[in-house]
Each structure stands twice: as structure tokens, then as C-alpha cells.
Symmetry: C2
Subunit: 215 residues, 2 copies
């Protein structure tokens, strides 16, 4: 074992704690005070991205965090638009509250329907998710078309999601899709602008879960 003096030697369980200390210090140096309710979520997004821009762009609807936590406590499911986000969410912890994570993107039926209609699998998988009988938190980290589909279902009163985590990343329709969600009467956490991702969607879900786990 080569000891390197450039490396900070920490036990595995100390690494995350130290990371959050660094994030807190740097926020303080920048003179940023996060609203208490949002603090652990915004910090975990910074932790997963090393990008302090999220402080400026993460938008929370009124009481968003409390509403999302109550949903999880009451056994809500989570639907993602990528298997990556699904892989990143702490499914064991969600199961403790009675929820599970679904991703319908790889379903043969979804793929077939999308092809027939000339639309995205993400949009069709939202339709499929709207048929779930339990309340659903939508965690969208990739496809703006998923958010647009949710918007259209809300507009036509066909469906109203229990909660929307709207953090797709990208260049085409990403910014407008997020703005559309924030215009609707639905609780949300949205990252304004182009940035986001499956990792960010998973980080937000996990931040909620870890806060609940600490109770």
C-alpha cells in the first residue's frame, strides 16, 4: 500500500460527511443561505454534480419538500424516464416506506406504441405510468418529451401526477418543458435551464429518502 501525502485519508463512511462539509463551507464563503427545507436536497444535487450553479436554478413549488416526503411516507411509487435514474435511486430505502421504482422505457409494448405513433418512448411510458393506481412521484432526468406528455395530460385533465421532479438535461425543448411544468397546479422540484440529468433526478429522490431515514 503506497501512502500518498496528497490524499486525504478518511474512512469510507467519513467521505460523504466530509464532502458535505466542503459544500457547506463553500456555500458560506459565497454568502449563500439555502432555505432550511431545501438545504439537503440542493446540497445533494451539488454533491452529485460538483456544480454550484444548481443553487441558482433549482426551483421548488410551495412546500414541495414536505409534500414529497409525505408522499413517500405514504408509500408513493417513483417513475423514472431512464434505467440509469432507476439504478441510482435507493430502492431498499423506498421499499421500507412501501414504494417501488418503475421505469417503462425498455418495455417492448412502449417501444412498439412509440414507433406506431412517431412519438418518443418517454412520452408513451408516461401514459403507461399514469395508469398506476398508487400516487406517483415522476422523476424525469432525461426526456423533455416526458415532461411535455405530463403537461398535456394535466391540461386535458386526463391525469394529474402527485409530484414532478423535472430535471431533464439537454438542448431541444428542455427549457420550455420545465417552464410548462412550473405553470401547472402540481407540486414540483424543477431545475430551470438546460442542466439536470438522471444522476440529478436520482440525487433528489435519495435526498428525500435519506432525510426521512434520519427521523
Amino acid at each position: 500500500m503506497i501512502v500518498l501525502d496528497r490524499i486525504e485519508h478518511l474512512l469510507p463512511e467519513e467521505i460523504e460527511k466530509r464532502s458535505f462539509e466542503i459544500i457547506s463551507q463553500e456555500l458560506e464563503q459565497k454568502g449563500i443561505v439555502l432555505p432550511q427545507e431545501q438545504e439537503m436536497i440542493t446540497k445533494r444535487v451539488i454533491h452529485t454534480s460538483a456544480d454550484f450553479d444548481y443553487v441558482k436554478t433549482l426551483c421548488y413549488s410551495k412546500n414541495a419538500v414536505r409534500i414529497a416526503k409525505d408522499l413517500i411516507l405514504n408509500g408513493a411509487d417513483i417513475v423514472t424516464d431512464t434505467n440509469m435514474a432507476r439504478a441510482g435511486i435507493n430502492k431498499k430505502m423506498l421499499a421500507r416506506f412501501g414504494g417501488e421504482v418503475h421505469c417503462f422505457m425498455a418495455d417492448e409494448e412502449v417501444s412498439q406504441t412509440a414507433k406506431e405513433r412517431g412519438t418518443t418512448r418517454a412520452a408513451v411510458s408516461m401514459e403507461k405510468a399514469s395508469k398506476l393506481t398508487k400516487p406517483v412521484i415522476f422523476a424525469i432526468g432525461n426526456a423533455p418529451t416526458a415532461l411535455i406528455q405530463l403537461y398535456e395530460m394535466m391540461q386535458s385533465k386526463a391525469f394529474r401526477p402527485a409530484f414532478v421532479i423535472g430535471v431533464p438535461v439537454g438542448f431541444v425543448n428542455v427549457e420550455v418543458a420545465k417552464e410548462l411544468i412550473m405553470e401547472m397546479d402540481v407540486p414540483y422540484i424543477v431545475n430551470r435551464g438546460r442542466k439536470g440529468g438522471s444522476n440529478v433526478a436520482a440525487a433528489i429522490c435519495n435526498a428525500l429518502l435519506y432525510e426521512l431515514g434520519r427521523r
Copy 2:
């Protein structure tokens, strides 16, 4: 179906193409010309992160892209340090060349050994990966301890990876771990600094695969 004039209406297969056009335009506006070999990889990382900072921080060893492509063509496996990165890599396409993606992070044995030694599962899973008989591309998007483990195995001549994609994200030992890899005699793609992630690791692997698929 509500038609929104704020939305750019594209067929699903056109969305990615349009995204890359926007990325190319904005790079041009910034006066940035990417080296041809690296172009599709750097662009796909921007595509997955909406973050143009990667232009400045992605570092490629000499002939890195050619070496990585040759490895894949010859059936190399990929080892990731998260199941998220594993989920994000196009495994079907890798299988066409004879390779598969491994992630040992959730192995019971890895977890047990890490606990006994007071080290991270990521470090132990690198040791396990070093026992694979095929050449391995390591795609590290999360744990600097995985990179440090690879560095130590190279230093002690116990093992030399065929290729290292070193893009962990974070605040503790992330920057130094990346610098250590770049000091070694190993082909690499590394993102200097704090940024990176499982999504970035997967994007780099997929960019290599898609370039090979277009031949």
C-alpha cells in the same frame, strides 16, 4: 393533443441530431475547434451534461480514442464503479463486439471484504476486476478511491488496466486521484477537476461505441 408553439416539433430520431447541431453551433460561436479524434466524445459529454466546461477539462492521453476503439473492437470488457454507469452504457452494442459490462459494487463478497479492511467497496471491486482475464476498460464515474486503487496496483506492478476513463465527481480526493492516473503509463480519458459522474462515464463509453457502430 395540445399544440404548443413554444415547442420545437421533431421526430424522436431527429432530437439527438438537432441537439448535436446546437452543440456544434455553440462551440463554433465560442471559437472552439475540437481535435477531430476527440470531437464526438467531448460533444457527447456536453450532450449528457449541458455543460461546456468539459471542453476545457477533458484530457486525452496520446491516441486515447484510437486505443479505446481498438480495445472495444477486440472484445474488451468494461468495468464501472456504479450500477448507474452500468445501466447507462449501451450493452447491446458492446456485445456486438464481444464485450460485456461488469460492476462489482453490489457483490456481497466485495462489501464484506471492504468492511473487514476499512476500505471502500469501490477499491475492492477494482481488485476483483483486475482478476478478469480479458482486457478491461475501467469507466470510473463516481469513486476516486477506485482510481487510487488502480494507481496503487499500477505502482506496485500488480496490474495494469488496458484503459482508464477517469471521471469521478466530487469533493474529497477527486482531483488528486485524476492527476495520479494521468501520471501513469496508461491510456486514459480523464476529466480534470471536480466534475464528472456516472452519466459522463457512460456517455464516453457510448460515444466510442456509436463511432464504431457507424463504420
